[in-house]
Symmetry: C2
Subunit: 309 residues, 2 copies
């Protein structure tokens, strides 16, 4: 896949709640030496622990590859992120508050560092290289343990100081009652498994197994799956009504369900909309590497910025 | 109010579903000869009928003012609008489909014409001159007979080919049942009056009278008013979660309620949000003239575009 890196490679990190991925993305866009490690957790110094691991891996990659193979580093993290100032504002899972990742990493590594939000980076990669390539007004929705989105209007990412894209915490009708609950508690892969367990008392190996059971016609599994689809459709329609979104790209673990998810989702969205635009709904194209590729794109942009300044 | 019109006045029209407003906005931003007429309705030729009235009024204003008083015309209309191509795509109330307002008006009037959406224009005026002046990520929500919004991210309007801002048609929990209904059917001034009449069988003079009755403690009026507030809060929270909106400006007829609307609305939004940004919620500053002032701003921009090309 050509990233358009005409003259420089970068070293990209995608730090997740459980794992962190790293790899060298070369000048012609090839990913080399892809590695996956457990994300280091240190409740006392959560940001420091991650930076130290990045520093260590940077040393190893530098040792493994000839000088000049990569000229910048990209780091993406979850949570609330201030991309402009390179600060991790808050991560509920990893525990930091206002940690200046970019500046500290640049000091320690001595080369330009780009810092971004994991979902925003994955979204940018889908917009530039993946499933949303031909669209200007799009939402890339990452549906896994939780749910978050990268929103684009007129081809530009909506950032709002790091506060945009928290669609997983927007309200949807409670399928079990009259009130409302957050989308993430019904529509995420995590919620599908959890709600199925709660209803049936049966242990399952994630949303995938609930889908398998639904495919055999098991009523409880079908019910939980359909409620997840309805919840996702509700939130997609909110986005379409407010923003006129023309394409919705579904990534994250749940997108592995493919048409078993997308076909009923399209149908539910179509039923719920009136005169509004009907968005194209499709699966993400870059899979689990989207965040790392987005991180590489950001590192490349940062390098150009430094070279031009 | 200074519009920053250093060197040229414009003639601005704001075409509504019932009335159309017009006025000369001078070089220093003063509004002169403000007029209000019934919007001409002709089911056979809805766009033509409006253009003819604009042509006639243009003639009258040209006769009334010295040559050079206005050098461009601004026209705003409701419905779905393609601002880029100057086309009225669709208006449910006024009846046109794909009517090329801008090009026809330029041919007939012989001076530059800007064409825009009424709510988007009112929103731009509030962003540039009014209540949203100091914000980059904002929603200007016009709550009257219906509900529509102008959405801004990073200071730029979200257009999406004319499809953005239809928040009045986004779903909210049905206060009378378990399902969902569109925001407009619960939260608009029109819906408040209609729902009160339906519940009580009592005729009222609009949402204003329902509010007056609620202030005296009448339970049905209080219920209908509070349900409207809850519905508006639900939709505002959707916008905040998706876009990280930092300010919500309420315009339209219902904003006349002032703090009787805004105070419970702030409280309901605050209760419904978790870690998300708390938006500033305030009333529109430009009142009923926002659409016409936005129309004038667009006309001014169009004039600069023509002069520079």
């Amino acid at each position: 896949m050509a990233l358009g890196f005409a003259d420089a490679g970068v070293l990209a990190f995608d730090v997740g709640g459980t794992d962190m991925k790293s790899g060298v993305v070369t000048a012609d866009g090839t990913v080399l030496a892809l590695q996956r490690h457990k994300t280091p957790l240190d409740p006392q110094r959560p940001g420091e622990a991650i930076l130290e691991r990045i520093e260590q891996l940077y040393g190893e990659y530098s040792h493994q590859f000839p000088a000049g193979t990569f000229e910048a580093v990209g780091i993406t993290v979850p949570g609330l992120v201030d991309e402009v100032h390179g600060v991790g504002i808050y991560s509920a899972n990893l525990g930091w508050r206002d940690f200046p990742f970019r500046d500290l990493a640049e000091q320690r590594l001595g080369i330009p560092v780009a810092f971004g939000h994991d979902v925003a980076s994955a979204g940018s990669a889908e917009m530039e290289l993946g499933a949303a390539r031909e669209f200007q007004d799009a939402m890339v929705m990452v549906v896994g343990t939780g749910i978050a989105a990268a929103i684009f209007t007129s081809g530009r990412p909506v950032t709002a100081g790091g506060f945009a894209g928290e669609i997983g915490h927007a309200m949807v009708p409670d399928p079990d009652g009259q009130g409302s609950v957050i989308l993430e508690s019904v529509g995420s892969a995590g919620a599908i498994a959890k709600r199925y367990r709660r209803i049936t008392g049966t242990e399952v190996d994630g949303a995938r197994e609930v889908l398998e059971r639904a495919m055999t016609g098991e009523p409880e599994a079908l019910k939980v799956w359909n409620q997840a689809v309805e919840a996702l459709a509700f939130s997609i329609c909110q986005c379409v009504s407010i923003l006129g979104t023309e394409a919705v790209v579904i990534g994250g673990g749940l997108s592995a369900a493919g048409e078993a998810l997308l076909e009923p989702l399209r149908s539910a969205v179509d039923d719920a909309l009136d005169f509004q635009r009907r968005p194209v709904i499709r699966a993400a194209a870059l899979g689990q590497d989207a965040g790392m590729l987005g991180s590489a794109l950001k590192a490349r942009a940062r390098l150009l910025e430094v070279k031009l300044s």
